[in-house]
């Protein structure tokens, strides 16, 4: 359907594009900055790590929670990704979701989860930004099990690492559900410290979920 590069609007030569074996609707120039992770990766956060099987951060999470959230990052969080997120999420260019729509949705399908739960955004964000950045990429069924507790909301992206890690639990269950024995997939945009995802996973775990994994676009 898309025969133009989503970013620079240049016409895509479909034959060459197909030859690249990439599902991103980007021309070769725009695609240069989009990098995946090679091996070896951490079994927890999914980023490159020399320590196997868990990186230092994930070892700290295991010490704190007694379990580790197996996460998968599709791409590296580099300068390209930073400027992409700036354009898509903060400037609100919702059309840019099309870059990762196919890839992200396919990755979600591959996880074979019984329940798919996106990380929610606040109602205030819906009133100004008008979309949930994760749901822009994901085309499929999901259950909005999580809800943000109302309190003075400071964006995670504006905090330092220490402030992020000190964030108290922002999530609660949307409705009382029995998740006993369910395999649940959490969806988020960026894995930075893991704070948000661990809070969300903890919330679902108390409701009885058997296995929780997570997928982020970048990390």
């Amino acid at each position: 359907m898309l025969s133009r590069c989503v970013q620079c609007q240049r016409e895509l030569n479909l034959a060459t594009w197909w030859g690249q074996r990439s599902l991103l609707p980007l021309c070769s120039t725009c695609r240069e900055g989009v990098l995946t992770y090679g091996v070896p990766t951490c079994q927890g956060c999914g980023r490159t790590s020399s320590r196997q099987p868990l990186c230092m951060d994930c070892q700290a999470w295991r010490a704190q929670y007694g379990w580790v959230l197996p996460n998968r990052c599709l791409y590296q969080y580099n300068d390209w990704m930073r400027s992409y997120m700036e354009q898509y999420k903060f400037k609100g260019d919702y059309y840019q979701r099309r870059i990762f729509m196919t890839v992200y949705t396919k990755a979600v399908r591959k996880c074979h989860a019984q329940i798919i739960v996106p990380i929610p955004v606040t109602e205030a964000t819906w009133q100004t930004r008008g979309f949930n950045q994760v749901l822009g990429w994901y085309q499929g069924n999901y259950q909005a099990l999580l809800r943000l507790k109302m309190r003075d909301k400071v964006a995670q992206s504006s905090k330092t690492r220490q402030q992020r890690l000190a964030t108290p639990q922002p999530f609660e269950l949307n409705r009382t559900v029995d998740l006993t024995g369910k395999r649940i997939l959490l969806l988020d945009d960026i894995y930075t410290t893991g704070r948000t995802l661990y809070h969300a996973a903890q919330c679902l775990r108390t409701a009885g979920a058997r296995e929780i994994l997570s997928l982020t676009l970048a990390g």
């Binding site: 400037k91 609100g92 260019d93 919702y94 059309y95 100004t128 008008g130 979309f131 749901l135």
Partner: protein, 416 residues
Amino acid sequence: MQTQLFWGRQLFLTTPPAFTTQMRPALKVGVLKVHCQRCGQATWRWQAALPRHQYYCPQCLNLGRMSTLGQLYHLPEPNQFSVPNQLLTWTGQLSPLQAQVAKRIKQTMQSRQTHLVWAVTGAGKTEMLYPALVAALERGERVAIASPRIDVVLELAPRLQAAFSQVEQVVLTGQTPQYRYCQLTLCTTHQLLRFYHAFDQLIVDEVDAFPYAGNQALLYATKQAIKPTGACTYLTATPGPVLQRQARREHWQVSYLPRRFHGQPLPEIEFQKIDNWRVRPLAPHLQQWLRQRLGRRECLIFVPKIADINPLLQSLRSLFPMVRQAGVYAADPERTTKVQLMRQHQLDWLVTTTILERGVTLPGIDVLVLGADEGIFFDCGVSANCRAGRSECAMSNWNGVNGGQASIGNDSSRAK
């Protein structure tokens, strides 16, 4: 929030301000397309869609997103200015020809007519505006001077501040977002998108320059920024055929000034054909010409594409390692500092794309246009060459051309 911020402007907000304002929808949703009320552009609905049946405008996103989640808030322009007693602090003299055009501008501004001022580069367009500006400011009118080029705006600002030192003025570019309510506004044409029925007099400098020419959003913004009773004055050195036709069709006033303010002729353009100037090492003529410039005068070298800058710089550096040289292009993060260095004579040669072709006054330089036959130079070759003789003395110029001399020749003879 202060009411002053809304006078003559249109601000997009998702929560209404505390006081009553006029309100317009941000976008009109049509059957197939959505129409942005700020930039006037139409976008396919599927491209502009947000979830929950909302829409946004992807075209003017960089000025802050417009969406159906909010409204455009506006207050009519009240013209509340305290006009100082002595307006003009400029003490220069206009030449008889300039005075004639200046008088004409003053008349058309007063009678609210659209006016196209066609004056060669270096004719002193800015100075010719002063009598008209004084009259307009005295009448208590709100005046804006807009240009598509940020360099032009930044160069104009100190000159106007000096000429009207008693008048409060605000300079608006994408890099300086602080807005103040002032009688005199200097801005890039993109910033006009934020105004609605604000100005009694709008002056657009360099109308034919990229990105203004042919940009529907900016043309729309110009119309929106002027009051229904206001007037618009266009300034240019090289009106293209489209602009000339429009002026004729819409019965604009046109004044033409073919002489520069110091009365010296435009610099002579010299053409020379080179088979391929992109080859390395550089063509012998080119090397020889450059060698003649060594230690004599600073030189501005124009190339048609950004991609040409680096290879050329490399070959220049290997040939002339002693020369202080740099390359500059539109998205260069150090663009302003490099131009500043050139002004302060800290650089000998500056390799540039067409961005420096307008509004940058560098006294006593030589200009070299490489690949002058490439499409991008057809309209701007003249102004680029005029850079050379501006302000001080006319220089000999030299152009490296590979073929296609005829079109450039036409342009320059027209400007002379």
